[in-house]
Amino acid sequence: MSEERTLPPDREKRIEAELRSLPSPAPDPDFQARLRSMFAAGELTPTLPRNVEEDPSAEGFFGEPSGRTGAFGNVTDIADATGDGGDGFAAGTSARGAAGADTSPGAAPGSGGTTSQGDPIPLDFGARRTRKPRPLWRHWLVPAVAAAAVLLLYFIRPTPPGVSGLDVAAQGNGTLRVGSRSFPIAEVEQYASLLEPGTKLLVEGDMSAEIHMTVEDDFRLVAIAGAEFTVPYPAKKGRNSFQVDMGEVRVATLPGISGEAIEIGAPGTRVDVMGTTLAVIADTSSTCVCLLEGTAMMMMKNGDMHHLDEGMRTIMYMDPEKPDETAPIFGNERMKLEMLRTAVGPSK
């Protein structure tokens, strides 16, 4: 597959060269040395608030505790065991904070040490910030305002809490895995607010389990049991796009779709969709695209975009030696795609 380039290679190289030439401030050598010794001694303490991790929406895929994380299962639980459930700033030592501190072997871990004049340096904790006591009225005002805001949002929101521009419905027996958490698939209210664009999802259950996502007025996707895919990015965030890593996802475009293609990433390929109904079926050895009607293009092994034929399925194998195949869509698949098109109405 050829590298996708949207700029001439020489210009891309020039931009890369400019970026590489940007200066980076050097770390404070004292900080670097102290961090090194504390790392080796296992004396480091966290410097970022813990409470951010308690936000379920900050969880990564299948167990990673914060943000997006990749294929490294061993990142799991790294950060959630600090034991401080308070305001998030752990008491401990900062490699940066105690500049000028006595770092001699005799100094107690965590000690602020002494200045050159022998004055004691106060203990310096990870956050280096001291909090003023809150005025009493703020103890009551903030929760009251927050509660009022929550109530207001609850009553004015016409649909279950969720991500703007994304309508979600589900049916059948099964679960939906969102990051490390599993939810009964039919209980959309429980997970709708977690469905941020790019979040990885896994539909588990019997063949009745399905999740339907309508992305603005652009398209609807239906993922069935076994599908592993990402929540689509809506067009307003750049371009409609999502990823199908495994299983089957069906897509039907809606009348509001802009002229720009929906981009579906799949193992070894990419499908650009313009006003169409199709299914993308991925497994470990191949990716199959079944096009019921409309226009879609699929990236082939050589990197070229290939126009797909209506009523046909195109299979691209991961094995570079195995040629791609094209054949009529199976009757069962055709029926399901026709049902989806009927459900969403005509594309234009």
């Binding site: 700029l7 210009r11 200066p23 401030p25 770390p27 080796a40 001694a41 943000g67 990142v75 965030k237």
Partner: protein, 194 residues
């Protein structure tokens, strides 16, 4: 890839001993990994002090989880995954909103020397600084996933496969994201880097 991977510079036996948390091995591991971590984190959070805080968090997490590191795999993508998570966490914290209000002298490399020497700011230097500032601003203007892609490739020296692993996306998506990021920078810097 512009730099050699950490895989080639951290011997397996050092990794194995680091996993057992032997201090000497941890120091060797740190020496190999820290410069790239700092560079990447600094490019993401844009302030030296904040970058130092985030680096401490990164190494705190590495130390906690190092026993789960697979010595057969290149440790750098794993480290960068942690670094990116810490950057996101930093952004999500109040520290980021407070830090955005001010910039320190350390955030302008060379400025302190010029002030100390009393040297005038020649036009060439000014032009060069303005150009760098434009490029930095363009980089910061990128959406976070694109910026991560650029930083991991150009400043951490990760290949697209490793970036894909690190970000939990497909290889093709990683390459595409990088190409788009460069293209977006090309638009933003049309006049500067024609």
């Amino acid at each position: 890839m512009s730099e050699t991977s950490a895989e080639s510079v951290i011997p397996r036996d050092v990794l194995v001993r680091a996993i057992a948390r032997e201090p000497a091995a941890l120091e060797a591991y740190y020496d190999q990994v820290f410069p790239r971590v700092f560079r990447v984190v600094e490019k993401m959070v844009r302030q030296r002090e904040a970058a130092e805080d985030v680096c401490q968090e990164v190494f705190y997490r590495i130390h906690r989880a190092i026993d789960r590191l697979d010595p057969e795999r290149d440790p750098l993508p794993w480290v960068m995954t942690i670094a990116m998570n810490c950057c996101r966490k930093h952004w999500a914290s109040k520290a980021e909103s407070q830090a955005k209000r001010t910039t320190g002298i350390d955030d302008h490399p060379g400025l302190d020397e010029r002030i100390d020497s009393g040297a005038p700011d020649p036009a060439a230097l000014r032009d060069d600084a303005a150009k760098r500032a434009r490029i930095e601003a363009a980089l910061q203007e990128l959406p976070e996933p694109m910026r991560e892609s650029i930083v991991l490739h150009l400043y951490a020296g990760l290949g697209h496969d490793e970036i894909a692993d690190s970000l939990g996306i497909g290889h093709a998506a990683a390459r595409k994201r990088y190409s788009r990021a460069i293209a977006r920078l090309g638009e933003l810097l049309e006049d500067l880097v024609p």
